[in-house]
Symmetry: D2
Subunit: 145 residues, 4 copies
């Protein structure tokens, strides 16, 4: 289920000095920054770069839940690959599966769930049709129903 081929969007990063802590490994919170970098690239890859294209269709997205599983630590200067895949679409929610590999070995996996919301009132709203279609058109293999 965390097969690398299932992630069309894979972004390479190099671990920065400022991201490592006294234990010699990346601080646990920074993996959410890595996930966020991959999600930014995901929006661009589906043709809806955030935030301009989102403003254009009258929606904003807010994180409602994040999960990170640390299987093995990333270390300073390592090149890692962050994969992002839309795993489930609800009425207003988008759940991304995220995974990080180093030399092809999975070292981190996680999930970030966003909810679509009105940009001004910040109340949840259904996923706008152009956003849903762009996600569904992008994902190969298709998102499970």
């Amino acid at each position: 289920m965390i097969k690398r081929d299932a992630f069309r969007l894979r972004e390479q990063l190099r671990v920065r000095w400022a991201e490592t802590d006294l234990q010699g490994i990346v601080f646990n919170g920074h993996y959410l920054t890595y996930f966020d970098v991959a999600i930014t690239e995901y929006w661009r890859a589906i043709g809806l770069p955030y935030p301009a294209a989102f403003a254009g269709i009258g929606v904003d997205v807010f994180a409602v839940k994040s999960t990170v599983e640390y299987l093995a630590p990333a270390r300073f200067d390592e090149v890692i690959e962050v994969g992002c895949r839309a795993a489930r679409l609800g009425r207003s929610s988008i759940a991304f599966a995220l995974a990080i590999w180093r030399d092809g070995a999975l070292i981190t996996r996680g999930e970030v769930v966003y909810v679509c919301a009105d940009p001004v009132a910040r109340r949840s709203m259904p996923i706008p049709v152009p956003l849903r279609r762009a996600i569904e058109a992008y994902e190969q293999p298709p998102i499970e129903a």
Copy 2:
């Protein structure tokens, strides 16, 4: 279950400018830094300040899983209260329940699970007795079995 009184350890923080993003709210990854600050205070509160006291009993702890639920956003300059409670103790794992309140209202909740490991080999090991006893002695109400 996220009753504020169940958290003996509650640490106040003020949201920093550098922690807020373009959406005007705290970036989702920084909540793990807030959790980490509370966990640092937790170790101090039980009498085993990290990392010195841990080195003294020959153990280190590594995060294996983090979960954050964002119920409402924290904003610049707000004073928030971060609660940390040992919720479950396994053979080698310690699961912390974490919660953040603003003006007494719950805005974030989450969990960070650590595993005890040999400091050098980084292989998992049972929770050392002094660490287990310190946690059990601290928690009121007692940890559920």
Copy 3:
């Protein structure tokens, strides 16, 4: 010139785990976050909390130059004291002297220069009178002309 008594605004912080790097010391960029925390408290102390009071008088401030001198490293869990003092006021610029002490010993000093700007056009503008007066009224000893 970096006498502790010359800094009316002194804010205590505890160094966070996430702020330390592999060298076992605070990453050099994070001192600017510490400075920023003290500057936030400075605006509050003079009665003009940022950003609300600034919006109220039609001004925003942008950093134009930062300098940090690292005399001795801060380490994880240390309690440090960050001092902030308006050292020079130009026509549109405000230069803050900043200093960090640990156990009363100076470990960092620096300067952050802001320029007042129109919030919309972001063009520089003279320091608004209420802001200049609030700073001059606060500083003891008075700012050198």
Copy 4:
């Protein structure tokens, strides 16, 4: 003096969401992270990747002074180019000139000064010959005496 051609080492970065603040621009402290990323690449470019090659020649480097001048703000998702050049070599100190361009226009410039130190005692020591030679061999045009 901040001619782009004078910087052999130029590293491209994309501004991350987590690096932008409420003003819609990169927080002033994060430029030191960008500088640090370029300095990491500099050590690699001269054939002495940090920290392994430094440990090999018995030296560590510590930042003693940083300066950043913010000429124009970087914003979310922009691709920027960070240049790093050894500008002056003292007996034990290495001063890097740093500069950031966006679309070829200079938006930030600065300096980070390191001092060579004994890795254990952390006392300053002369720049080891292999390090000095690697820097001098790399810089074109040559470093001014």
